[in-house]
Subunit: 188 residues, 4 copies
Amino acid sequence: MSEKKREIISAAAELIHTKGYEATKLSDIMQASDIGKGQFYHYFSSKRELGLTIVDYYAEMWDRELIQGVFHSSFSAEKKMENMLEWAVNYHVSTQALSGCPFGNLAIEMSEHDEEFRLKINNLIDQWINHLADVMKDLRGEDQALQHARVVVAQIEGGILLMKNYQDISILKDIIAMIRLNYLDKGE
Amino acid sequence: MSEKKREIISAAAELIHTKGYEATKLSDIMQASDIGKGQFYHYFSSKRELGLTIVDYYAEMWDRELIQGVFHSSFSAEKKMENMLEWAVNYHVSTQALSGCPFGNLAIEMSEHDEEFRLKINNLIDQWINHLADVMKDLRGEDQALQHARVVVAQIEGGILLMKNYQDISILKDIIAMIRLNYLDKGE
Amino acid sequence: MSEKKREIISAAAELIHTKGYEATKLSDIMQASDIGKGQFYHYFSSKRELGLTIVDYYAEMWDRELIQGVFHSSFSAEKKMENMLEWAVNYHVSTQALSGCPFGNLAIEMSEHDEEFRLKINNLIDQWINHLADVMKDLRGEDQALQHARVVVAQIEGGILLMKNYQDISILKDIIAMIRLNYLDKGE
Amino acid sequence: MSEKKREIISAAAELIHTKGYEATKLSDIMQASDIGKGQFYHYFSSKRELGLTIVDYYAEMWDRELIQGVFHSSFSAEKKMENMLEWAVNYHVSTQALSGCPFGNLAIEMSEHDEEFRLKINNLIDQWINHLADVMKDLRGEDQALQHARVVVAQIEGGILLMKNYQDISILKDIIAMIRLNYLDKGE
DNA sequence: GATGAATGAGAGTTCATTCAT
DNA sequence: GATGAATGAACTCTCATTCAT
């Protein structure tokens, strides 16, 4: 993939993360990645195609950081869970972004009226939940492992939503802390 | 408030709930509420003002159904919690809408770049959390009541997000069931 | 129909007559009828809809001048034929337009890839041929009346094509004269 | 001329025949002849130059099939006329194309606003008419030979126009049959 | 209080053409 | 001789908003 295409994707990803898909205009993207109209359409056939490519771009990051970096690591279940929680918070701390979850936002904006977006995003979320369910099995046995995984993911995504609405990252930190308390520090 | 204005608000609220604020066009609203351009601008000075009015409209519903109907009722803390959970699920069951949470969606779409929207929505969420914190105090003592309230709200909002992305209401039902298990059926 | 809409139609009809449908740009139409983009789309939902409306506009003229004015007149068959030929030449003489036949041009441009255009135009041509076939029956009996009607229409449309390519109206006049000779002055 | 250039010309000729000059985009041509932007501009300096080249390409075919193949043959005038009529119908039968006459279409689309196109096409048509006039002289004497030639060409081109608008080749066949009847089977 | 015509900036997209490699 | 990235004007169309009646 050409350098320029990558540049467009990452500039657009950031814009869409911040403003949403619909509110991000092609002109914003062109300005942010310093290209003209023609060049944009040289690389992408439409704004929607760019949007879908961005989801793929998140999917790669996701796979690298979460699936490979956390779940496929050789750490213990406890440590995996801990790393996942840290990773979730750190993303928002490091970017100082109070924009929320990049694909959580897209999930809400696109799921109902664009099936292709929905499925791509759902694939990410479903992977997350399933890998977490495996960790749950190690942590607390087979019983309701999937349900607990869903609860944790919901809690994180909901926590990010609250953080965004309060524009205060400590809200998310607190909620993540509660997950830790509930699933990791139980017996202590 | 004139009947027509109310009609516009409720038609627009539904559209925005489904498609989002940005993706809902004035023309959609005019068509859905059967009015012309002139009449719209007679009642509202701008699309944004309508949007803000819609948040107020949700605030009324909110106050009626959740604050008065649940938290200010004379039921026990357990029953209040139970009713709140039922109310949360029922909204999505009854409307068969897989559109998600009307103001949760707006929170994500608007919080970062429109402070007035953010504050209005935050007011609703904050009320919810604070009233729930009171219930928590009754249920399980002062300790971390606010944190637990936030966790529950996050879990519900996150559950709705997952439900929307899976386009499957059972996801939300399961997550709500887990909250019930965690906070209500503990000792049983 | 509003005056403005009529103005747009007639300005656009002339442009499309001269330059063709595809080569006539919205900006040409806007300039010629002195309107802005918005106003155009207030009256028409698309360029194509305008195009179809223009065919209807020709159909009206057609009905008025040819069907009512010539074929439904109380003249003899000879006189009807004569009037039709005169009308055909006069259109091109009076407008000094060497643009050809307004809907003959469209027939060629649109027939193959836009069925709605094709059918609308075909309706005009078919009416012409059928009314002329009736005149032929009066003139020279039932035998091959339809075939002769088609031949005459083909000769006229083909004559207009030659006229346009030679950019010389005398070509058309000559061909019309030959039709007259063939069908009207036979016995003389 | 390189093989590739010939390929581009024939692919573009077919596209323009079907869709028209304006509606045929460079991208269509590039796709149909499997070349890139650079290669196109290596062989042609512009779309217009390609268009003019295509008329030349038709002129060659024209010369080969009609002028040499029919008019310069050693057949009798009757047989030449007959062969010309057969050739005219066969082109549309064999290609099953209801796209009409390749340069008749161009004549209508281009004659009025591109003098170079007009003259090139006019050259073809004029040759046709003049050669046919010679045949007419043999067939029916000097009297109005040119006029009759024009009428026949007009009838054929008009017949093709009707055929295209009816999307029915039998219309053309019928009209050609009438020419035969009029000029060849007269005395029989 | 209501209508819908008018506005015009800007949306996403197309396209012939140029240019660096 | 060939590639495809880059250009930018122009294209059809959208939209929130204003204005005259």
